[in-house]
Amino acid sequence: MAQPRLIFGVLLSAAVSAGAGMAAGQAGVGAGQATVRVEPAHLSGPRALAEQTEQAAIRDYLESWQTMCAALEQNQPGLLNADFTGTAKDKLSETIHEQEAAGIDTRYEARAHDLQIVFYSPEGLSIELIDNVDYDVQVFDQGKSVSTEPVHARYIVLLTPAEVRWRVRVLQAE
């Protein structure tokens, strides 16, 4: 059975390779860094998932996390354009507008991603993955911190292909 792969510090890394297996053991997390574990894909669809496709989807998804964090912290919905589309983009943009209106900004800092691709639709137009993610949420009101909380959530993510990358269409925690 294929073993999960660990990738460290990907959120600060410019290039993320889901296929690059790395030695286990380093669980320490620095500011802005997260451990990433990629479980072998467990697909329910008929379409085979090429390794390059898997790598690209995971790389693009992890980049989208960075983008989302930056957009929510800076209250800049325009940052979402490259990585999000459809419902996910609409909802995140609306959240940012709500934050702006309320004088709030939020800092999301991922500590660990545990990823598994669970569906690759037969026509190749969507990939669904599960991300068991641990992150800290810090909430600021008028620049003053009002709360910092650790969160564990199971995110279900739907990615769809754009011109040169996969974009997040659904990002939903359970």
Binding site: T85, G86, L125, T160, R169
Partner: protein
């Protein structure tokens, strides 16, 4: 100044004077052209100079002066003369410029001569060569050219019903269309592919089939891969393909990798590309009298006949050549620089490399066309 320096100065001066005299008495055609076609010595003093004068004026598009110098100008108008050279209808020749020309004497007497004028036209798709055999006659102290004008092709009045299919495409509007249905790209398939090593590099030959029921705009890209499956080079078929394919139509393609070595290539990744485009099943082009001519000057000759009622402005004849086993061994083509008029044959002559000619046992010819009125 020492003695040797003085000698050098004298020699240089003598050579300069000699070159000026030679250039004046026998100017090159280019120099003549830049000089406005007029030499210091009357240029029509010999049959060859008369033809050179005329060619230079054609090159400068000095139609009036060129027409005025002709011996037989009473037989046609200046406009006929101009159209004979630039085309009666929009074609590659319409915007071509004369790059250079050659004049060869064929036969001469005291009062007339036969001269061959070869005109090399620069067109948007490369050089187009046309050859005219001219009769030159003496008129006192100078020579005039009889221009063998090709008059406007006479297409008999007729009604040609055009009721072939036309395909139009409606695409969905802009916006996020994920999950919405889109127009399916045509299904195309490479039915033959064969790499060969030539002196100029690696050449990939093949054929592409539109196996769909809709027309397709097609092209083919190839990537050479080394033993580690790393790309060596990528190239496309460019114009060595018939880009518009009707349903079940086949086109050859030809991709060249200059300076590449086939021995360095482990595998080749072929990427056919197709997109749905509006198209018409008209015009139908027949290819008649296709003939493979053997060495020493191997070629494929024949005529194309536009069977439809509309003028085809540009025609590109593509020949696919096969060996006895049916494998593609060469692809070559020729642009016709004249418009194809309805029901009017136009000859083509596609050169075949001599070293391949002996291997060729059959061929297949297709014609890609462009009409000002239509898409194809």
């Amino acid at each position: 100044m020492n003695k040797s320096g003085r000698l050098l100065a004298v020699i240089l001066g003598a050579v300069t004077v000699a070159l000026i005299v030679i250039g004046t008495l026998d100017p090159s055609s280019t120099a003549l052209a830049y000089a406005g076609g007029q030499g210091l010595v009357p240029s029509s003093s010999t049959p060859e100079l008369a033809v050179r004068d005329l060619a230079a004026e054609i090159g400068m598009r000095e139609w009036g002066r060129a027409y005025g110098s002709l011996a037989n100008k009473a037989e046609f108008t200046e406009q006929n003369f101009q159209n004979d050279l630039t085309g009666y209808y929009l074609s590659l020749r319409t915007y071509a410029t004369l790059d250079h020309f050659q004049v060869r004497p064929l036969h001469a007497t005291a009062n007339d001569a036969e001269m061959r004028l070869v005109l090399y036209w620069s067109t948007v798709v490369g050089t187009s060569v046309s050859t005219r055999d001219l009769h030159v006659v003496r008129d006192g102290d100078h020579w005039d050219v009889d221009w063998p004008v090709a008059k406007k092709p006479d297409v008999p009045p007729q009604v040609i019903p055009v009721n072939y299919l036309r395909w139009d495409v409606i695409y969905p509007g802009a916006g996020d269309d994920w999950g919405e249905q889109n127009v399916e790209a045509p299904h195309v398939r490479i039915v033959d592919m064969h790499p060969v090593q030539r002196a100029e590099g690696v050449v990939i030959l093949g054929e592409l089939l539109n196996e769909d029921i809709v027309p397709a705009y097609v092209s083919v890209n190839a990537t050479l891969l080394d033993k580690e499956q790393h790309p060596i080079a990528s190239a496309g078929s460019f114009d060595k393909i018939s880009h518009i394919l009707l349903p079940k139509q086949v086109t050859p393609f030809f991709i060249i990798f200059p300076n590449a070595q086939l021995s360095d290539v482990k595998s080749i990744r072929m990427t056919p590309f197709s997109t749905l485009v509006p198209a018409s099943a008209d015009p139908v082009i027949a290819i008649d009298n296709e003939h493979l001519n053997p060495v020493p000057d191997p070629s494929l000759t024949g005529q194309v006949i536009n069977q439809s009622g509309q003028v085809v402005n540009v025609a590109h004849v593509l020949g696919t050549f096969y060996d006895k086993s049916g494998q593609v061994v060469w692809v070559a083509g020729e642009y016709l620089d004249r418009a194809l008029l309805p029901q009017t044959p136009e000859a083509f002559d596609i050169h075949i490399p001599e070293d391949l000619a002996r291997d060729i046992s059959s061929e297949r010819t297709v014609v890609a066309t462009y009409s000002e009125r239509g898409e194809q």
